[in-house]
Every structure is written in C-alpha cells, then in structure tokens.
C-alpha cells in the first residue's frame, strides 16, 4: 500500500456537494498536480462529515486541521500555505460564532468534541465507495461473528440485551421484533430497510447511507441470519441519488467479496438484497404502506393485525428496520449487547443521531449518548441560537412530533421522557426555532405537510387534517374565532385516536404541543388579531407597526421625515402615543426587532427618528375637552399608564381625576429613569400637554392616607389603579438591612427626589436589567469612583438594552459576570464588605437560559461603601384596605384581571394596568395598558347604560408620500450625536443628542416601506 504524507479528507456528502465540494476537489487535484504533490498527498472523498452548514469541508490528516466554507479560488493558497509551508491557513478555519475564537482542529471544535460516535464512527474517515476501508475499520467483523459463531437465537438475544430500540421513531425494541419474525414459520421471509426518510429537516439516514453504506448491509445480513431470511430490500427515496449510487456500489462490492449473495463467507448462508426506489410519498415510511409500495401498488397502509412479523411483504414474515438501527447492529454483535447498553438511560440505550437544523449556529449531524439533554445538543454542540437571538422551541420528530419549549431544555433524549413533554424522538430531526418564529404558523406548516401527504385512505386523516389546516390558516390570516382552539384540541384528540396509521395518529401532535406551550400566541391571533412574532403577514402591513404594542404608524412618520413634513409627522405620533418624546428616548423598541431592513444590514433607528420628530415638530395648541358625561373616574398613579388612560377618557368626555403620591407626575419616567436619559423639561412638556386636556391632577395625595379608599369608591364610578411597580425585590441575603444597602428603585427615587444620597466611592450594583444600569450610571454621576455591576449570568443574558450597557462601560462602570452577592457585613450598621459567590452555568432554567449555580471555591469578598440591588421590582399595594373584597392580587403583588379583559377586574368598577398589572415592563406597554383601560372602561359604562359603542371621531387626513428608494445600497445606521463628558460628577445632562437633520433624512431613506407591499 502506498504511503502518503498527508490525506485531504474532503466531504462528499450531498450537503457539501450542494455547496460546491466537487469543484473544490477538482481544483485540489489540479493544484496538487501543478505543485507536484500528487505522490505525497492523497485526496479522499468521504461521506458526510456532519458539519453540513460549514461545507465544503476538508480535514487535513494526520494534523486534523479542518477547513470550512472552502471555495475553489481558495485552493491555491490553501495548498501553498498548509501543504507546502506547513502553516495553518487561518482565514478558512472554523470560528466559534459567539466567542469568535478560531479553532483549527476538529477535535477541539465544540460541535464535534461533545459527540459520541457509534453509528457515525466512520464519517469523514473512509471513502464510502471502498469496501476495504470499511473492512479496515473492523467492518463485517460483526457479521462474520454472527454467521460463524452464533445461532440465530443468540443473535436475537444479543440484540435484545443491547436494549436497541427502533431508530425510525416509534422506538419498538429491535430484538423483540426480530424474535417475533424468527418464530414465524415460513420458507420465505424478508428483511427490509426503511430509508424513506421524509421528515422536513431530517437527513440522518441519507448521511449514513452516503458515508457508511456497508454498515447498513452488515446489519441487514445479521438480521437475515437471525430471522432466517434470504432476501431483502432497501426502500430508499428516489430523491437520494447519491445514497442510492453509493449503496449500489457497496452492494456490488459486498457481493464480489462474498459478503452478500450465495454462501456468504462460505457458511452456506444465502442473503441478497436490492434497492427499491420510493417515489417520495411520506406515508411510505409507514411499514404496511412501504410493503404495498414494494409490491408494486400505491403505497397505502392497511390495518394491523396481521403484523408484518407474521404477514408482511407479499404476506410473508417480514422485519422492517430503519437505516440507523441497522447501522448499529454490526457493532452490537462485535462488541456485545452489554457494551452497547453501557451508555444511555434506563429505557433508551446507546446513542442517537440527530439532524440539527434551523436557527441554530452549528447546523449538521450530531450523535450523542441517549440521555443527553436537548439543551446540551442545541447549546453545547449546536453553539446556541444564531445572531444572539432567543430560543423559542425545537421541533423534534418532524411533522409527527412536537415542540420542546425553553422550560423543557433539560429533557433528556430518552423515548419516554420526550413523549412526556409532548414530542416524540422520531427519526431525529431537530429543528431549532428562535424567538422570531410564530408557533401558530409552525403548526400550520406541519399540518399543511401532513394533509398534503395523507394517503387519503381514512377519513380522520384525509378530511380531519384538511379541516385542521383550514382552521389554522384562518387563525394565521386573522379569521380565527372564539372556540377554534377548543375545536382544534377536540379534533386532534379524535384524529389521534381514530386514524388508521401512524401518519394520521401523529399528525395533530404539532398542533397539540404548540397549543400546550404557546396557547397565548393562538389567543393573540384569534382575539387580538396579532401575530406576536410578526410572521403572519396577513395580519399587518409592516412588522414594525405590528410589533409596537400601541401600533405606532412607523412607516408613515418615517416617510414624512423624508418629505421634511415634521409637523404632520408629529401629529401621526400623537395619534397613538401621548409620550412620543419619551418613547423616542427610552423605548425597548420591539419595532426594530423585526425590521425587514435588518435582514439586509441593520434595522432602521426607529426610536431615534421618532425623537428627531419630537425635537423638531411643532407642538399643538391644546383646548380643554368639555365633560359631557356624568360618570366620574379616578386614576391612581400619574405614570404613563394612568395618564394615557386619563387622556383617552377625557377625550371621550369623562371627568377624570388623577391621584399621585409624589410631588410630580410621571411615575417611573420621573422617579425611575435618570435625567441624563430623559430630561425633566422634555417629560414635563409632554405631561403638561396631556393635563391641558382638562384632567384634574392631584399631586402629593396618597390613597389610604390623604383620602381613604372607601371615600374614593364612594366618590367615583370607576377606579383605575395604575400604581406602577415601585418596590424593589428583596435580595434575601444576610446584612440586607445595613445602611448603605439600597433597592434600585428606592435609590433612583431618592436621587430623583433631590434627596442627598451618600454613596461613598465603591459601589456594587446587583442585577442586569435597565434599572441596574441606571443605578450604576447614576452612581458614577453621584461621584462614586469604582462602580461594578454584578450579574449572575452571561452578558448576552442581561435584560438591559445593549446600548445602555455599552454606555455604562464607556463611563467606567465595570461588569462582573457570573457572580451573585453573598453575605453583607459592616461596622456600626453600615455596609463595608460584600461576599461574592462565583457562579457557573448549570442546567437550563424555565426561561431557556443556563441556570447560574455556585462554583465550588470561587468565592471572594470585596470592600463596599454602597450596595444597590436591582433584581426586579413589584407594586407597592399597601394603599389597599385590609379587606380587599373582590380586588384580586396575584403573586408578586400584581393585580389580576377577569376573563379575557386586559384591564377590567373582578371587583365591579375597578380596572388596573401598567406595571401594577404586568410587573415591571416598559413605557410603551404601560401606554398600551392605558389605552386598553380607557377602551374597556368606556365599554363597561356604555354597556351598563345600554348605550351604543363609542365611535372614534374622524381624524385629520394626512397624505403620506409613497416614493421609495428603489436601489437599496447596504448601509448601516446613521450615527446620533453624543454629549462629550469629561467630568461625570453632578452632570445629569442628556447624553444622547439625537440625529442631525442630515442623518435623520438619510436614516429615514433607509426605510424599505414594507407597508406598501400591496401597492404596484
């Protein structure tokens, strides 16, 4: 055998072929020729390497360096650098998507390092078209042992001992199946291999057939020996030409070597097999349909019994196993059932191959021990979600399976454990979906697939899936109605129960599991006509407007900026938002998260454009609205929710009184958000504008103290409670009550009230949200020289806005990740030291993030003058009387609404909204709550009075330009101006100075106007 100094293992799987590995291979051949290296270096085309998204892939052996995404034009440099000069060509090696670390060798890449290869043990190592290479890797040894040293009973018992279960999806014990067939009396029996892989997103079987075809043949011969069969078929879909071609080569070679056909290995045992090409019907993966298809009929299932083990193909005893099942057999026989059963869980032994696809960083084929958690596969092997987005769910088991949401990421890959959470192991297709997926649309997609692939034989499947699809389609198009979810559930249960075969019995699974975990999304589509992920495009014109809780008409005001009509733009803002200047500064900007421009370069800077309008648009002259209704309404809390509701109700003619405990209105806007983010005069202008409509604002008035709750009930027809969430969650550590230890909200409130807060020099802020960052930046401005944020997870897990974190770091704030506070100690009642517990990532919590758990021995302690904990906040409901009556309060002291109402409470005449209802949220959600409360209050009153519903008055018509920039040139956002600060102490001037006129117009021009998609 010729010895080469290096082997170039180029991936020749279908995935890499598709991404161009054939051209790369040809270029390599030419280049080696050119550089006279053909005698030293050999090119080997292997089967699928597994890391499909990185293809074309080449591994240089013996160094083990892996090159990815190779193009033919890279080849010259690659050969010169690596093979001549002996230097790794860095630009073509794998880069870890999150850390950006360059990892040269395959073994070190997390994608490969965390796998356990049994079925895929030969991947990337052998040329699948050379039987000698398979034999050199112990191939056919198991078969030899089975044929020469073992009786059929011994084979069956060894497979039983291994605990191997059918890898096609149902997980029936393979040994038991063989046992049944071996006991059936017949002169003719069949061994069938199911290679009709049809799940969307699944490619395990294809890869095995392409990369290691002999392993399948070996398994089938052993099975044949075990049950006494002499003929077999591999039923492979015709869409797998490469797999079929390699399989045929393998069959020919095995025959030539006496490993297949007559008198195998001289033992006198005969077994031959052939490939039967399926025409691509999904139902032909069902065993009885598959057999009908081989018989030459239309593939349709038949009722069982009789089971195939007694009457299968041509009514003869038959076993049917999946590709992956057979690929395990040779190893099991060679190394023994005990070896195989040494890994896995109690009920699921060995390994499982998964086709990992979707919104995950590392797409490809992975093999892990049974019992590995889904989260480990997605995060440790899959590298997490693309573009730092959030995980939503993974579909396991294809259209017959279910989704696994974030709270179940710890579910082990075990047949029973997976079934418990509502999915199925299936053949191993694992489709990962990020937060931008609409789960109703996902259910619709899979239902569409199933109803299309239903053979049409039985009524529940043929007609039932059609109707379920119809209902789902209606929901995604905004035509869903009350009762649809219940009808879907009823139909799903029924179709599962009554369908003839596995296709129908499992077709409703995606619907059931999405309803189980994402019922709120169904409800949003049906009742609010909203697609929370802005996927179902029939429900909206532009995703930005749809994502905004108050549906601000973003494309319109952006178009008006382009046209220099800022006064009109300002009017558009005020239509839906009484606080546009605030939202232009401190909004969480759900709008930008789905901005279509983001798919090209960067989302439009929507908030900055909004602020540009408010900075420059002319203010309206406000007239008092006459109170033409007799009902009196009290609003508790002058925050964004309370003031919005008060404004809306005033505009509808009601007399509204707003009670505010603090000396100024604004709630969290005034006493939570620091002035350097939201200048006081800007806020005041907006609030004055609202009050001017004729709202009676009573400041410095606390309910329960300055006016009794009973009095309020007596004086008003309606009470709207929008008291916010002005109390910090307690830290729960020893020493919390020491002086110098503040809750985040309380700290910010004291500072914003103008109280003198002595914080010293060293300040620790605990938490990762916007309040924590606000507290840190405020501490810097109060003169602290050493401010550190302690957060218990990764930076990408911090709920605070990215921009805010960056700003804090730029102002000198330090970030200590994976830390949690321990005991606080002090002298004479004032805090001096904080113990810090070093954390590490544990398993997954219910939010899908890795749970921080203490790390052994990593604790340390730091000197501190002040500790501020901002780990969340809750409403202060101490204003309520002891006897709350029907006023319902949930955990965390938030109010509860009744029925499907968004703000109406069980207690007659009481409504609640904003943070007091939802827990700490965003300004825009509070404004939304205010609008909703006003609507529901007005409806409540009018329904009670038997009055017709309120009709919104005709709005002033504003023409919107429709000119679009046809030539989209990739450009990132245009920059805002920023305040240059040299001395932070005492400087609360606004840092962000907004967009210049030039940049605002350029930025506005980036808008793609997707709201106009229906216009020619």
């Amino acid at each position: 055998m010729k010895v080469y100094r290096s082997h170039l293992m180029i991936c020749g799987g279908t995935g890499c072929h598709a991404s161009g590995s054939i051209a790369v291979k040809e270029a390599l051949e030419k280049e080696l020729e050119k550089q006279n290296l053909t005698e030293e270096i050999k090119i080997v085309e292997t089967g699928c390497n597994g890391f499909c998204a990185m293809g074309p892939i080449m591994v240089v052996q013996p160094d083990g360096v892996m090159y990815v995404l190779i193009k033919p034009e890279d080849v010259e440099e690659l050969v010169t650098e690596h093979l001549v000069k002996g230097r790794v060509l860095k630009r073509l090696i794998y880069k870890e998507p999150i850390t950006k670390e360059e990892i040269p060798t395959m073994q070190e890449i997390p994608f490969f390092a965390n796998q356990e290869l049994r079925v895929l043990r030969n991947r990337g190592l052998i040329d699948p078209e050379k039987i000698d290479e398979y034999i050199a890797r112990d191939g056919y040894l198991g078969m030899g042992k089975a044929l020469t040293d073992m009786t059929p009973e011994e084979i069956v018992s060894e497979v039983k001992k291994s605990g191997l279960r059918g890898r096609g999806g149902a997980g029936f014990p393979t040994g038991t199946k063989w046992d049944f067939a071996s006991r059936s009396q017949s002169d003719v029996k069949y061994v069938l291999c199911n290679a009709d892989e049809g799940d969307p997103g699944a490619f395990m079987d294809r890869s095995v057939l392409e990369a290691d075809p002999h392993a399948v043949i070996e398994g089938m011969v052993i099975a044949a020996r075990a049950i006494g069969s002499h003929h077999g078929y591999i039923y492979c879909r015709a869409e797998y030409p490469l797999a079929i071609s390699r399989m045929n080569i393998a069959i020919d070679q095995a025959r030539e070597y006496g490993l297949l056909g007559k008198d195998i290995l001289g033992t006198g045992f005969d077994f031959d097999l052939e490939i039967y090409q399926g025409a691509g019907a999904f139902v032909c993966g069902e065993e009885t349909a598959l057999m009908r298809s081989i018989e030459g009929h239309r593939g349709m299932p038949r009722p069982r019994p009789p089971f195939p083990a007694s009457q299968g193909l041509w009514e003869k005893p038959t076993i049917l196993n999946n590709v992956e099942t057979f690929a395990n057999i040779g190893q099991i026989i060679l190394r023994g059932g005990d070896w195989y059963a040494s890994i896995g869980t109690e009920g699921s032994k060995g390994t499982k191959v998964f086709a990992l696809t979707g919104d995950v960083n590392n797409i490809g084929l992975v093999e892990v021990p049974m019992g590995t958690s889904i989260g480990t596969i997605i995060y440790d092997i899959g590298g997490g979600i693309q573009d730092g987005k959030k995980y939503k769910a993974a579909q396991l088991g294809g259209p017959s399976g279910g989704c696994i949401p974030a709270q179940h990421l710890n579910t082990p890959t075990d047949y029973e454990a997976i079934a418990k959470v509502g999915a199925i192991m299936g053949s191993g297709g694992l489709i990962v979906m990020d937060e931008e997926s609409c789960m109703v649309d996902v259910a619709r997609f899979f239902m569409d697939f199933c109803q299309d692939e239903s053979c049409g034989k039985c009524v529940p499947c043929r007609e039932g899936t059609k109707r379920m699809l119809e209902i789902l389609t209606n929901i995604t198009e905004g035509k869903g109605k009350d009762g649809d979810i219940e009808l879907l559930e009823e139909m799903a249960a029924n179709i599962k129960d009554a369908s003839l075969c596995g296709l129908g019995q499992t077709a409703p699974n995606p619907v059931l599991s999405t309803i189980r975990y994402f019922r709120d999304e169904y409800e949003a589509h049906i009742y609010d006509k909203k697609c929370p992920s802005a996927v179902c495009s029939a429900l909206f014109a532009s995703p930005c407007q749809h994502m905004c809780p108050i549906e601000m008409d973003v494309p319109k005001y952006i178009a008006l900026i382009k046209a220099d009509r800022l006064d009109d733009a300002y009017k558009i803002l005020l239509k839906t938002n009484p606080f546009p200047s605030v939202c232009g500064r401190v909004c969480n900007q759900a709008c930008t998260s789905r901005c279509r421009r983001g798919q090209t370069d960067e989302p439009i800077a929507i908030a900055a454009l909004k602020r540009y309008i408010t900075d420059n648009g002319r203010r309206l002259v406000i007239k008092k609205v006459p109170h033409d209704r007799k009902e009196k309404i009290a609003v508790i809390g002058a925050g964004p929710a309370g003031l919005t509701a008060a404004l809306d109700l005033t505009k509808r003619g009601y007399a509204v009184t707003v009670y505010e405990e603090l000396p100024e209105a604004g709630g969290m806007l005034r006493y939570g958000i620091p002035a350097y983010r939201l200048p006081r005069e800007t806020l005041k202008e907006e609030i004055d504008h609202i009050i001017a409509h004729g709202i009676d604002l009573k400041l410095n008035t606390r309910i329960g103290k300055d006016i009794s709750f009973e009095q309020l009930k007596k004086d008003y027809d309606i009470v709207f409670m929008a008291v916010g969430a002005h109390k910090s969650y307690s830290l729960g550590v020893e020493g919390e009550d020491l002086k110098g230890v503040y809750g985040g909200v309380e700290f910010l409130r004291d500072v914003n009230l103008g109280k003198k807060v002595d914080i010293g020099k060293k300040v620790a802020v605990i938490g990762g949200g916007n309040s924590a960052v606000d507290a840190a930046r405020t501490a810097v401005r109060l003169g602290a020289s050493d401010v550190t944020i302690y957060y218990r997870r990764l930076r990408e897990d911090m709920p605070a806005q990215e921009e805010e974190i960056d700003a804090a770091l730029a102002e000198g704030v330090k970030l200590e990740l994976f830390t949690a506070p321990g005991k606080l100690t002090g002298k004479s009642g004032r805090v001096e030291k904080m113990e810090v517990i070093r954390m590490k990532a544990g398993d997954f919590d219910s939010s899908g993030r890795k749970r921080p758990v203490p790390q052994e021995g990593g604790n340390f302690s730091v000197d501190m003058d002040t500790v501020i904990y901002a780990i969340g906040q809750q409403p202060d409901i101490s204003f309520l009387p002891k006897d709350r009556g029907d006023i319902e309060v949930a955990r965390g002291d938030t109010f509860k609404t009744t029925g499907r109402f968004k703000t109406r409470m069980k207690a007659e005449g009481f409504f609640a909204g904003g943070d007091a209802l939802s827990g700490a949220a965003f300004v825009v959600t509070a404004i939304d709550a205010g609008h909703k409360a006003a609507g529901e209050i007005d409806d409540y009153i009018r329904t009670k009075n038997n009055e017709p519903a309120w009709q919104a008055p005709e709005m002033e018509k504003i023409d919107i330009p429709t000119d679009i920039d046809e030539d989209v040139i990739e450009t990132p956002r245009f920059a805002k101006e920023h305040l240059k600060i040299t001395d932070f102490v005492g400087n609360f001037e606004e840092v962000d100075k907004g967009l210049s006129k030039k940049n605002a117009k350029l930025e506005a021009n980036r808008c793609l106007r997707c709201d106009l998609s229906d216009i020619d």
Partner: protein
C-alpha cells in the same frame, strides 16, 4: 374452528377464530355502523366509523378489521367511540355535495343513515364539495364524484371481486379520489361496465343512469328473479314501479351463484322489457312482409312446415337451437320435442350470451 368468547357492550358473546369484531357483533344483533366495509371484499379499515374501544388498546380499533381474541372486552358505544364516529361523519358530510333531495341514494345511503343515527343536522365545518362535476357520458353509469366519500368500496369491488383492475385511488390528501388511471372517464378506460362499483357504492356517487329519477328506493317493489341472459343463473331483483321495471339490482345477501355481482347485460340490459319495438304477438311473413297473426295460426303454420320438411328431407334435415334466456323447463321440453317428435339429435343451446 376454535370458539372464542368475548365481551361486547357488557354481553358475553361467542365467535369463531378469524372472525372480526364487526362480524361477531352483527351476528349478535349489536349494531355497529359501517361505510367502507363490504362482505365481498377484504376489510380496509378506512372509514373509521366502525371504530370501537377495546380494553387495553392504545387507540380505537376498526371493528371491521380487528380479529376477535379470547376475553376481549369491547365497547361499541363509549363516549370516545361516539366522538370519533361523529367527527368522521361530520367531516364526510362537509366534504362533498351531500344534498339528499334529488339523490338517487336517498333512502339507501349509509352516510344518510349515519347522520340520522348520530343526529347530525349540520356539520360544524363549511360544506365544500371538490367540484368535480358529473360524468354522464356513458349510457349506464353516472359518476358524481362530488358525492364520493372515498371509502374505496368501488376500488375493492373492481380489483378484488371482479378483478377488472380499472379503479384505484389517485392523488393524495384532500385531493385523494377514486377512478380509472390518469383521471379518464369510465368510457375511455378499460372498464367493462359490470356495474359492481355502482352496486357497492354506499352513497350516491355511482348510480344507474337509466333508473335515474324513475323511482325512489321506497317506491319500488323488488321482485326477485333469475337473470335470463345466460345460463349462470344470477339472482337479480327487478325494481318495479307502476308495473314497470326501472332498474335491475342484486345483493350480496341473495347468495349463490353471483353474490350480488352481475355483468353489463344483466345489470344494464333491461331496456328491452318496455321497449316499444318489442314483439308481443306472433308474425308470419307473407309476400315479403310480416303479418300479425293469432297464436293458433302461427302454431299450425309452424307445425305444418316442419312436418313437410321432415317428410321430404328426413329428420336430420332439421336442427333446433334454443336459448339460454329460456327456462330449464322450456329447454327440456324442446329437446324432448326435437328427439321424440322430430326424431333428430340435432339440438343445441347457447349457454352463453
């Protein structure tokens, strides 16, 4: 045959091994509705209205296809069963044009019976017939696939009973339908118009064209007789209304020899019965023209001519050929006449069509 004891709806019943739940239930007067089941064909388990609950089974089972086992406990009317049956029926009712007003199957439609039994006035889904339109190009069968419930009875009748192999399923999912290959009409296919498909159709998708609008099922009197076309002796029922045969049907229950099967003539070739050109009186040709005569004159004339020929040319100059459409008794008498009176063995019979 082993006897098996099982429990259906709380009753201990017995059946033979190999029998299905449905068969045993029917023998014991326990009603289970069916649509796709037909005794002449292998069970398909397709319509799912015969599903029952079997203790220990993971899902409902089709009673038409499930063999009985010892000590099996079956419930044919549980809530689960009724829910499945209802949904299947509702889905079928909404899947096509199941307007009974002018449907030929009205009164003998299994879907109609099922809807009535379950009290379904209106399905919960919008009624959306596929819109295939009616195929009525041939003179015998009307195919109205908008009324088809895709039970597959016709497919099995064509393939398993008549073995003509003309019909099969085509397309998938909601487009699934039955018919000749490549969507051709019956006329353009290999179909021999035996009408087996029509006879097994449980609804009004396949109906006899000649009998259309001629008489409702409850208006006709079914007169059992033997088909007169050939010597097989197929049992048929003449559907008679107002003394007129409007349709010929047969039934599996009529038993030997045909178990409800017929050929194209037996099923559709009955238009001669009331045809205006049908001969009802004897005719004698005189001067090149036929003249109506009395039976006496006709018989006398025939006897006279036969005698003349025999006397002149001998007995063997005469041969007698009889018809399969006559009864055995008629044929017996005629061969006796031929041998004993005419004196020849020249007698034969067309025991075929």
């Amino acid at each position: 045959m082993k006897t098996i004891t099982l429990n259906i709806d709380g009753r201990q019943v017995q059946g033979a091994s190999g029998q299905t739940i449905y068969e045993v239930a029917r023998e014991n007067d326990i009603h289970i509705p069916v649509l796709c089941y037909h005794p002449a064909a292998k069970p398909a388990g397709a319509c799912r209205v015969c599903v029952v609950e079997v203790a220990g089974a993971r899902s409902l089972v089709a009673s038409c296809a499930q063999p009985i086992t010892e000590d099996m406990v079956v419930n044919t009317k549980s809530d689960r069963v009724i829910a499945a049956r209802r949904l299947a029926t509702e889905l079928l009712l909404s899947s096509g044009n199941h307007n009974c007003l002018v449907c030929e199957a009205n009164g003998q439609c299994l879907l109609q019976e099922l809807a009535y039994e379950l009290g379904i006035e209106q399905p919960r889904f919008s009624v959306s017939p596929p819109g295939y339109g009616i195929e009525e190009e041939n003179p015998m069968i009307i195919r109205d696939m908008d009324r088809c419930i895709v039970c597959g009875r016709c497919v099995r009748a064509c393939n398993e009973v008549q073995v003509n192999r003309v019909l099969d399923f085509s397309y998938r999912g909601k487009h699934a339908t039955v018919g000749p290959a490549f969507g051709t009409t019956y006329e353009d296919s290999e179909c021999v118009f035996c009408g087996e498909c029509v006879s097994v159709c449980p609804v009004g998708a396949l109906t006899e064209k000649q009998g259309r609008f001629k008489g409702r099922n409850w208006e006709v009197k079914k007169v059992r007789t033997t088909c007169s076309y050939c010597g097989v002796g197929c049992q048929i029922e003449l559907n008679v209304k107002d003394n007129k045969v409007v349709k010929v049907t047969s039934d599996y229950e009529l038993g030997e020899p045909n178990h409800g099967s017929l050929c194209v003539k037996g099923r559709f070739g009955h238009d001669f019965i009331h045809h205006p050109e049908r001969l009802t009186k004897p005719l004698i040709r005189k001067d090149g023209k036929f003249w109506e005569v009395s039976w006496e004159e006709a018989l006398d004339y025939t006897a006279k001519r036969l005698k003349e020929i025999r006397d002149k040319n001998g007995s063997d100059s005469i041969g007698v050929f009889t018809s399969a459409r006559c009864t055995n008794e008629d044929n017996y008498v005629l061969q006796k006449f031929t041998r004993a009176v005419i004196g020849t063995n020249n007698v034969d019979h067309c025991a075929r069509l």
